[in-house]
Symmetry: C3
Subunit: 162 residues, 3 copies
Amino acid sequence: MTSADDRLDQLEARLRRAEDQLAIMELVASYGPLVDSGDGRGAADLWTEDGVYDVDTGTYEGRNGIAEMVASRPHQRLVARGCAHATSPPRVYLDGDAAIAVTESQLIVQREGGGFDVVRATAHRWELVRTPDGWQVQRRTSRLLDGSDASRELLRPPLGHS
Amino acid sequence: MTSADDRLDQLEARLRRAEDQLAIMELVASYGPLVDSGDGRGAADLWTEDGVYDVDTGTYEGRNGIAEMVASRPHQRLVARGCAHATSPPRVYLDGDAAIAVTESQLIVQREGGGFDVVRATAHRWELVRTPDGWQVQRRTSRLLDGSDASRELLRPPLGHS
Amino acid sequence: MTSADDRLDQLEARLRRAEDQLAIMELVASYGPLVDSGDGRGAADLWTEDGVYDVDTGTYEGRNGIAEMVASRPHQRLVARGCAHATSPPRVYLDGDAAIAVTESQLIVQREGGGFDVVRATAHRWELVRTPDGWQVQRRTSRLLDGSDASRELLRPPLGHS
């Protein structure tokens, strides 16, 4: 017979896992709307202070580096043309105060004359940490889905998970 | 030392937030399959009786207005050609019995001769309310992602949230 | 006045539903990354031992059948060119130890010379069962969104649900 205290302990631990998963889903869902509205500061705040965004087109370090990427001329040109960084829902691997999330995204850009092009399809691995301010991104590694081993590797379950 | 009653109170409040978030994810995930199967009545029932769908191509008022939009010739023509209103997962902002969800979607339409075109990419802000029948849409505001301020504004975190 | 035991019972039942929903979201989110990295064994393990994947282009039976589909020349050619099986978030209908999930997906393939084509948009109905190893797919039925009744039928709420 399980005591009420044990049941409460178990409920709290299970609910915390569910909340972690939901918080990470929200974090991932935040990225597209932030960068597509051109909000570099908002996007940067998804990362830790010293977080890294490592993508095939460049490596951006720290919140300032990430905010500058969004503020850069190439990114702002996409926003002005009309773009969506559309994401799939994440596959989340929780591990205490750390987590990994895997997503696939599309960069969709409005064409002159109407309609949209799928300019990129990208694999992402998000390395996340629990902080006093909630879950944040320590590193996001992103590679164009071009058949390369590097992109395919990002999509695999992390070591120790299946 | 927290009493069992306090722990139960806290668990119930936290679980309710998680359930709210999940219910809103489900609501958002319902829209595409309903309109892509041509089910105007099902789509309309996601809204409150007097709910509004305000999109750049028209404003549809009340459940009847929304059902008629789905039953309209332009929409049914899309369904007959084969289409997907594909959505990203929502960013959900809960606020008691109200909530806001932000999504980005694509309208994908089959091309003559095979393959699909991305006809639209759209920003959405869903204003949701808790009702006796669960969460419903009070207003959905949607704008083509064409670089306009109106579309970018929809993607920003609502006032009071970050 | 509800007793602590009753409150614990109710919390456990509610949390289990939330966990079920999250587990099914994770399962659905796993599929794209697995098949896009070419991991047929990983994809097959989402199904029950005798699970079926019934798609307009073929029917694959059992885990071996599904793993062979991923290992097949046409699929591996897509992976080598660079592809994403991008999914929308699922609409999940729970029913005790069984569940149905409805999704829409896109198959995006890199074009020679750069950029990506949306080669397919597909409706999916996932019939899921709870097993000792967690939720698994008993049958996934998938049809090209080409305006056919068969594809539209998959998107409708299952019988007994609205």
